[in-house]
């Protein structure tokens, strides 16, 4: 079957099998390997991307279901050579180690900051609770998101 969707602002059309998962479509058909695959069961969230501005787990979405929709991946966070504050925050606060969960964490955290520019620690923990990180113990991810929030308020004048 043929599917057409917008990925990171660009319209793409591909011939695919109906059973193809969105995560494999992004990685194998479009070469966007920043989105990772980690569990098959929607538990780990390494595959989180945006579908029409909402984070979804792309291992549990058929590529066909994304037809006609907007998909945004980690590769789209950097804008004209400028990193998104959430990317800076993860670097500043050691919000990542092996980097495998990072793409999904960044996409979820970006969505959180878009709807809540001043999240509390509990709000952040709740927002990322559908995702697993095996390296950081989460505290530094919480700080990374707080750093980004503060940066957007104080440096960018948010």
């Amino acid at each position: 079957m043929q599917v057409t969707m917008t990925v990171n602002g660009e319209e793409v059309t591909r011939e695919i099998e109906g059973r193809l998962l969105l995560v494999h479509f992004l990685r194998d058909h479009l070469g966007l390997t920043g989105t990772h695959w980690g569990c098959d069961t929607s538990n780990c969230g390494a595959c989180a991307v945006w579908l029409d501005d909402e984070p979804v787990k792309s291992c549990t979405v058929l590529a066909a279901m994304a037809g006609g929709h907007d998909v945004r991946t980690v590769e789209d966070l950097e804008h004209e050579g400028e990193l998104d504050p959430i990317q800076l925050g993860f670097m500043a606060c050691h919000g990542l180690q092996c980097g495998f969960c990072t793409s999904g964490m960044l996409m979820t955290a970006r969505a959180l900051l878009d709807r809540d520019p001043q999240p509390t620690e509990d709000t952040i923990r709740e927002a990322i609770s559908g995702q697993i990180c095996r390296c950081t113990g989460y505290a530094s991810i919480v700080r990374s998101v707080q750093w980004a929030a503060q940066y957007e308020r104080e440096v960018q004048g948010g």
């Binding site: 980690g38 092996c98 113990g137 940066y151």
Partner: protein, 826 residues
């Protein structure tokens, strides 16, 4: 408030992120610890992060090669069964299938079995029978991943089921089915039981004598259950065999690429110089990626027979049910003491479940890993351990999950026993530990099982933890809450680790001595490349090793590139596990930098027309280094000046070669012994038996910290492991040997909701034999935290008379313990 108000794109200073962006992040109020020191010890931001935050890491599954095929593995649905017949014809007929390979096919090329890292063998593909659920039976190579999976369904395997040995405690029963009938005993006949090995350490007679004179003896049975490292990236490989050059390139998720290369050479007969192992970005290892798995061998065979690159990536279920598990020790511990709380001796009997093949990745002379340090941080009169290891119809493995070669089990044993003794004697667990610590003046301290602890100041670390926790106030609060019927628990653990294996004469992997090499090249413009034998799975080696070299040779970390993970590009070494990167390769890096600096000094003497003995090494406030003449502050040559001179056209001192580089292999004279004091506060809901970790205080001492931010991150990771193992994680099996923990819906790993905000502290006790005093931190918290959590839960349940309950302390386990059905005393 914000100190600098640059935009993200043009932040001044700092390091070069991707070769085009120079980045220095503004310091925000409340985040001051993220200051970036340009050189030396400090919380420098990580050099690897700019690619990871952009999604530009390159993991094994990201590798795409022209003409690449995909491999999928058919696995056994049974724990124990004879293979009667395999019919692969329908799979072969699938239009997208290029090859189907069974054990019989591999046997024809003597590849059906491979050596493990523990002098055992493991089936690559089963030939005679399957010995655990999930064992590899056949593989398919197809044009795409989905087709390969489809074709697995078309392979027809007829099994004759056999009774399975699931409970290790029944493995040596006379009527237990023999799992390893492929092995022969000393008499040359097929093995008649499931014994894997017997092992003991310490002095049984002296220990019995100490027990005989003790006022108090406490015994406790405890199980350290089977768990799994479950790195977020599963295991996988891309094999590319170039039949013209006769060269195999294998990208794979390996923590030990050089050791793997040697193993593949011995296994396949390919010459070692024609094998290149590349461990690209690796999404977490934790010991899961130390062994060689059948899938890697299948991938290289698949590439050889198809003449095309072949990718194999296991799925999560395959990872959980077939790759290296951890722990699975059934321990009976006994502790003997005087009435006033002087511990005299500890002894233990251990039944170790090794699964179907002995796949333990531990030094040959240490079949039980470093479990021998079970005497912990205490000065005892005697100790003894006896162990029997058995085969069962479960996945192989045993040493994994940040265990420091079984020190997790050892520390859990001794720290639970000390708490049991504390309850028996009515002495506060902190006070009991303080009375028995090895004192600072006793180091180097040889334990009763022969381990020489290098340095320690245990009381200082414990007192810091007590002060951060507010221990006395917590006890007062606990008393108040207990009076109200609330269940609050405070758990203490104190651990000493032994990390940084070798020395090489004592420790090896598969006969390869544990020593690691580092190569340093200073280029003509004064930039540097350092090549290390260890490999990073997230620990930040590209940053840490640059900082080690920077501190020694006065070149900024931004000007130092760290190369790792590629056997064609790095010198030989044993790899990253057992917290050995900093203790071993970190030492090699510091020493090779000093060696290169010594040569630079000879060159600088020529440049300054001074005698070598008159020169001194100087660094400025930013850490930049050079040589000057003693007493003369004006004449200085920087290390960059020396580099230019070394590669230039000037005459060099007589007999000296041009260039400025060096290589050094570091053979550690001893392990290093990091330690720490952990305090956990839990609340148990009396109605639901749910355990909530309210606070966790961790004070670690790993000697000097090279990058404090990275060290703290390592601690946070291990503490989260601890919460997982103590409260949630379990690889369980039903009576048929079916794995009940084969997905992340069943194998529960902590999320941000299950863990608290960690409270950390550090003391610094350098290792006397390490060139920069560093000790290793990668596994400390995984080792030290589970007993603190269990001790806290047991403490919370004291009103119910509970003395012990086995991990994981799920609500049902806690509820059973509250109602008298916990693990009884031995």
């Amino acid at each position: 408030m914000v100190e600098s108000v640059e935009t993200a794109v043009a932040l001044p200073g700092g390091f070069d992120a991707l070769g085009h962006q120079v980045l220095r992040l503004p310091e925000l109020e409340g985040f001051e610890h993220n200051d970036q020191h340009p050189v030396g010890y400090g919380r420098m931001l990580r050099k690897e992060d700019p690619r990871f935050v952009r999604g530009l890491g390159r993991y094994c599954d990201d590798i795409q090669l022209t003409g690449m095929l995909h491999l999928a593995i058919l696995r056994s649905p049974h724990a124990h069964a004879r293979i009667v017949h395999i019919d692969a014809s329908a799979a072969m007929a699938h239009p997208k299938v290029k090859a189907v390979v069974t054990g019989a096919d591999l046997a024809a090329h003597k590849l059906a079995w491979m050596p493990t890292l523990s002098h055992d063998v493991q089936a690559v593909l089963a030939t005679d029978k399957v010995r655990f659920q999930g064992q590899e039976v056949a593989f398919v190579v197809a044009e795409d991943h989905y087709a390969a999976r489809d074709a697995l369904e078309l392979i027809d395997v007829e099994y004759e089921r056999l009774p399975a040995v699931v409970d290790a405690r029944r493995a040596l029963d006379a009527d237990a089915p023999v799992i390893r009938d492929d092995l022969t005993g000393a008499d040359g006949c097929p093995r008649s039981d499931n014994r894997c090995f017997d092992w003991e350490t310490g002095d049984a007679a002296a220990t019995a004598a100490a027990f005989a004179r003790a006022d108090v003896v406490v015994s406790q049975d405890m199980t350290y259950p089977r768990v799994h490292p479950a790195p977020l990236e599963t295991c996988g490989a891309v094999a590319d065999y170039d039949r013209v050059a006769g060269k195999l390139t294998l990208w794979c998720t390996s923590q030990a690429p050089h050791a793997h290369r040697t193993m593949y050479a011995l296994l396949t007969g390919l010459p070692e110089h024609k094998i290149r192992i590349v461990s690209p970005d690796v999404g977490g290892g934790f010991g899961n990626k130390v062994p060689i798995y059948p899938g890697y061998v299948c991938a290289l065979v698949g590439s050889q027979i198809t003449g095309r690159p072949v990718k194999w990536m296991e799925d999560r279920t395959e990872n959980l049910i077939s790759t290296a598990f951890a722990r699975d020790y059934h321990m009976r511990g006994e502790i003997a003491a005087t009435r006033d709380g002087k511990i005299l001796a500890i002894r233990t009997n251990v039944l170790a479940d090794h699964g179907a093949f002995n796949g333990v990745a531990a030094p040959s002379k240490f079949p039980a890993g470093f479990f021998g340090v079970f005497t912990g941080s205490y000065d005892l009169d005697a100790a003894h351990a006896a162990m029997t290891a058995v085969y069962t119809n479960k996945a192989p493995g045993g040493v994994a999950y940040a265990c420091s070669f079984r020190i997790t089990e050892a520390v859990y044993l001794v720290e639970r026993l000390v708490d049991c003794l504390s309850a028996e004697l009515g002495i506060d667990p902190v006070e009991l530990r303080l009375r028995n610590f090895i004192r600072p003046d006793q180091f180097p301290y040889e334990s009763k099982t022969g381990w020489v602890y290098d340095s320690g100041e245990y009381e200082r670390a414990l007192r810091l933890a007590l002060s951060i926790a507010g221990y006395d106030e917590l006890r007062a609060e606990q008393a108040e809450r207990r009076a109200r019927g609330e269940l609050m628990g405070i758990g203490v653990s104190f651990f000493t680790e032994a990390v940084g294996a070798g020395p090489r004469k004592l420790m090896d992997i598969g006969g390869l001595g544990m020593a690691d090499t580092c190569e340093l090249r200073i280029h003509p413009t004064g930039k540097a490349t350092v090549r290390v034998s260890v490999q990073t799975q997230g620990q930040g080696h590209e940053t840490t090793f640059a900082q080690i070299i920077a501190a020694e040779i006065g070149i900024p970390p931004a000007d130092i590139d760290v190369v790792h993970g590629d056997t064609d590009a790095t010198p030989f070494g044993l790899g990253t596990y057992g917290s050995r990167s900093t203790p071993v390769s970190g030492a090699a890096a510091a020493l090779v930098a000093r060696k290169v600096r010594d040569k630079a000094q000879l060159l600088a003497a020529e440049m300054l027309e001074a005698s070598v003995a008159d020169l001194e090494w100087r660094t400025d406030a930013a850490g930049l280094g050079g040589f000057g003449v003693r007493g003369d502050t004006r004449n200085v040559v920087s290390i960059q000046d020396v580099a230019r001179f070394a590669y230039g056209t000037s005459d060099l001192p007589d007999g000296m070669e041009g260039g400025l580089d060096g290589q050094l292999c570091y053979n550690p004279e001893n392990l290093t012994y990091p330690f720490g004091a952990y305090i956990c506060v839990v609340d148990v809901d009396p109605g639901t038996a749910v355990v909530k970790v309210r606070r966790f205080i961790a004070v670690d001492d790993c000697g000097p910290r090279i990058n404090e931010m990275i060290v703290e991150g390592q601690v946070h990771r291990g503490l989260t492991d601890g919460v997982g193992m103590a409260l949630m994680e379990l690889i369980a099996f039903d009576e048929h040997g079916t794995c009940l923990g084969g997905s992340l819906m069943d194998y529960l790993i902590p999320t941000a909701k299950e863990v608290p905000s960690w409270e950390t502290g550090f003391t610094v006790t350098p290792s006397p034999h390490h060139p920069i005093g560093a000790k290793g931190i990668g596994e400390s918290a995984t080792v030290g935290s589970p007993p603190a959590i269990v001790n806290a839960v047991v403490d919370a349940l004291a009103p119910y008379g509970v003395r012990h309950a086995d991990m994981p302390l799920t609500p049902s386990r806690v509820w059973e313990a509250m109602h008298g059905r916990g693990t009884p005393a031995a």
